[in-house]
């Protein structure tokens, strides 16, 4: 099997795992929602998720680029830059979001952008 096809298979598997990760995270958030989150509580969550979402976003977009152009770094870095910007702003918003609806909105957009990254990877896989 060609290497690019194997990377596409890997990207598709990772995309499915990412969808489940985001879905369980959202489910967990909805189960655990507290009316007045403390700054410490949110920092505990945000610190882990910055690393986690950064790793998930980077891996998906990296594999997307590799599967698109086998052998070269490719040029469409804009989606990854946009994703990281959104993640950073989103985490910052949820950190200081004492209002639960603002926080929920932040988490939902967080999940939505992860979903977009996942769909991009899945689309690239389907195109191969």
């Amino acid at each position: 099997m060609k290497r690019s096809a194997l990377y596409s298979l890997l990207a598709a598997t990772l995309a499915v795992v990412a969808i489940f990760t985001v879905a369980t995270g959202l489910w967990l958030y909805l189960l655990r929602s507290v009316p007045t989150p403390t700054l410490t509580g949110w920092l505990e969550i945000a610190a882990v998720h910055l690393l986690g979402m950064g790793a998930v976003g980077f891996t998906l977009l990296h594999l997307l680029l590799v599967s698109k152009e086998d052998g070269g770094p490719g040029k469409p870095f804009r989606p990854s830059v946009a994703l990281f910007a959104v993640i950073s702003v989103d985490i910052a918003a949820s950190l200081y979001g004492e209002n639960i609806f603002r926080t929920l909105l932040a988490v939902l957009t967080f999940a939505a952008f992860s979903g977009i990254a996942t769909l991009l990877a899945a689309k690239a896989t389907g195109a191969k």
């Binding site: 990377y7 598997t13 990772l14 891996t59 990296h62």
Partner: protein
């Protein structure tokens, strides 16, 4: 992950990859041992740990805790699959078994997670299935990591 796209792996990158694969191997072993210690190694032990046991004074685990465990495991699986899968493909793309190994690792690890959530409902059946799938994906990932270390150490790729 630039090594994915380069035609040859430099000696420094080779050492870095050996260290990374060693850390991944240790993670796989420690994660399996941790899960066995936390939930047990037999279906009865897993069912007791999750649903509780009055005779042994074990409280049932809340669903939130199971879901948190699944959420964390999915993230670990994502990283594991990304690192081990990408390295294995880079080293053994020509092998016929590569596709099977990636699919086996992905499918077994992913299926094990919802089945774990079914343990409170299905009891021993779900626990048995979860134990088998957990063993399979840990073994698959461990074998892939060891193959990578061997190939990198030999310098044959």
């Amino acid at each position: 992950m630039r090594f994915l796209a380069t035609p040859s792996i430099s000696p420094n990158m080779r050492i870095a990859l050996i260290l990374l694969m060693s850390a991944v191997s240790l993670f796989i072993v420690s994660h399996y041992v941790l899960e066995a210690m936390r939930y047990g190694a037999t279906p009865q032990q897993v069912t007791s740990a999750v649903t509780g046991d009055e005779e042994l004074f074990i409280d049932p685990l809340p669903f939130e805790e199971l879901l948190l465990q699944v959420h964390m495991n999915l993230f670990f699986i994502f990283l594991l699959l990304g690192i081990v899968g990408a390295t294995y493909i880079r080293l053994f793309a020509e092998r016929r078994s590569t596709r099977t190994l990636i699919l086996l690792l992905g499918a077994s690890s992913l299926t094990a997670q919802p089945i774990f959530l079914l343990v409170p409902v299905a009891g021993n059946i779900a626990a048995t299935l979860w134990l088998v799938l957990t063993l399979v994906w840990h073994l698959a990932a461990f074998a892939a990591a060891l193959f990578c270390i061997r190939a990198l150490a030999r310098g044959s790729k």
